[in-house]
């Protein structure tokens, strides 16, 4: 249970993956997408997973968030083995423990920036308007609180998404290529703010990217090809 990560500290991992295998169906065929023998992330860490597009990075985040159940193996996140939970409990787990930042188009239209942030805490029962406002201010969006998503630039939208992921002060923040659609300047800004906010909230950050500029901003860089070794097996589904 007690493992040494690359930080060298002896603490219980916040993410502990063992013999994780995920096979996904594609039409009539199915293929192994993930095969991760062992991977840990410790509390407070900020880890960047990098690799080519389509190699399974996002799928790993889906598994870690409890949206996707692995085909086999164990996945302990925040001390909970997700494979033992039913879907409703995984939904509740995600509501309380996980903050999620998507690649793009991840704000709900019809809601203002502030309301989008408040939504992030709505299902955990920890709605804190003052906290939401302070996070948006920290994201330099003090004058954009009541703007709908379509009135915000892509960079601003991603900063709102970061605030939404952090408003409930989750133990773990999962960011799925959050800067993929941003220019380098906005990209750097979003990553800086995301990292600072996670540190401020005491949240662990796992970020997926294929951008080298983003990768350099992380102390722990995890090449996904070293982590994941899916077989070439492809089964015909009957």
């Amino acid at each position: 249970m007690v493992q040494a990560g690359n930080t060298g500290a002896e603490v219980s991992p916040i993410i502990e993956v063992r013999d994780l295998k995920v096979k996904l169906a594609h039409g009539t065929a199915a293929s192994w997408v993930l095969d991760i023998p062992h991977w840990n992330v410790h509390p407070g860490e900020q880890a960047a997973l990098f690799g080519r597009s389509g190699c399974g990075k996002s799928t790993l985040l889906h598994v870690l968030s409890g949206v996707l159940m692995p085909t086999s193996g164990s996945v302990r996140v925040c001390g909970t083995d997700l494979t033992t939970l039913d879907e409703a409990k995984r939904d509740a787990f995600r509501a309380h423990k996980i903050g999620y930042v998507f690649q793009n188009l991840n704000l709900l239209p019809g809601y203002t920036a502030l309301e989008n942030v408040l939504l992030g805490a709505s299902f955990s029962g920890r709605v804190d308007r003052a906290k939401a406002v302070s996070l948006l201010k920290a994201m330099d969006l003090a004058d954009r609180l009541n703007q709908p998503p379509n009135a915000l630039s892509l960079g601003e939208q991603q900063r709102v998404a970061v605030a939404r992921a952090l408003v409930k002060e989750p133990e773990l923040v999962l960011a799925d290529e959050p800067t993929a659609s941003l220019d380098p300047r906005n990209s750097a800004r979003v990553i800086d703010l995301l990292q600072a906010a996670c540190r401020g909230c005491g949240s662990t950050l796992v970020l997926v990217t294929h951008e080298p500029e983003v990768l350099t901003r992380f102390e722990r860089q995890v090449p996904f090809r070293d982590l994941n070794r899916p077989g070439e097996e492809v089964e015909r589904r009957r």
Binding site: L105, S122, F123, V127
Partner: protein, 414 residues
Amino acid sequence: MSFLQILLRSLRRHRLSGALALLSTALGVALIVAVVSFREQSHRQFETEGMGVDAILAPRGSALQVVLNSLYHLDEMPGTLPWREYERVRQDELVVEAFPFATGHSYSGFRVNAVEPRFFARFEHRPGRGLSFAPEDGGQGRPFDARGEAVAGWAAARTLGLTVGQTFHPVHGVRAGDPPHAEDALRIVGIMAPTGTPHDRVLYIPLASFYTLGGHGETVARMADHPGEREISGVYLRLRHIRGGALHPGIQQLKYEVNRRPAVQLVVPNEVLPQLLDIIGWADRVLFLLGTLVIGLGGAFLFVVLVTALREQRRDLALLRMLGAGRKTVFGLILAQALLLSLGSAILGLAAGHAVIAWGSQAVAQETGLRFSEGFLSTADVWTIPAMLVLGAVAGLFPAVQAYRMDVLEGLRA
């Protein structure tokens, strides 16, 4: 953000189509609410109030025809009956009041009914409510007390523009083209306060004047001063009631005795009116069916709106799921949208239905004498909200199940 806030935001996203579904369903609700209310109020008035007449002594013939002529001033009496029948029936211990009348005349489309002056002092158009000429009740003048005088019902006076002091020439007959009694001008001495009954649509003349109208001939004119020789159209009867308001059971015996005689019959309006309601009931059944169809179409439209909205909201719902919303939450979100829209339809339809009743009641009262209240609580009022919630649940169930079964990752890719 509470569930309600999220729900309202979702509704706002497809407000135009939602509003159209709501309005179309509300239209059907309004139609049904108005039709049912009019129907139930009219049935109630027909069945319980009887316009102050418990029974009618009438010539042999169709009982329905008797009711239509004597109470609703439509059609014609099947014949006449001799005065002695009136004298005989008024002696019965069950009879509280008896008012002989003679119909068969008209003026400008309104019927003329000949009654005795006593009618205005003693007749009650509803239990405890007599005929009034008091200005504070909306009346004018006084009852007639001499030949050559007449009284106009409120609606007749209003429609014909009759005022106290004006004269008119009654028409011999009730059909267009029937000849007027050109030499007989009757002077209006009073206009009755509105009663909300067909009595408002009648011109009343003295029974004695009826016989002396020119053209009736000497034999008939003689009847004016020799009541025992009179022929009359019928007799309005007020009978004894038992505690609780029901007619005294002795009426069956009275009916039996009267109906044994060859020329007369005793007609009890409350027994005959259901036939009338059956005859005219097709109209409100058609309207009710129409309202049901409109509601059904509204429900189908609501279903389409929800299915379309679900397609538009797939990604939103998937995002909510990623933020921690459970399947039951998104199921509830879609179902609640349907229920909220149908509840809105019900409330709007109820309001519109009662507005129609308020607006239509005046016109109906003027045309038929029936009084309707927008405050009347009908069966439709009671059942509208539960029924519309069921409709909303039915319309929303399929899209809600689709939302429940939606795969989060597929939704995110939508």
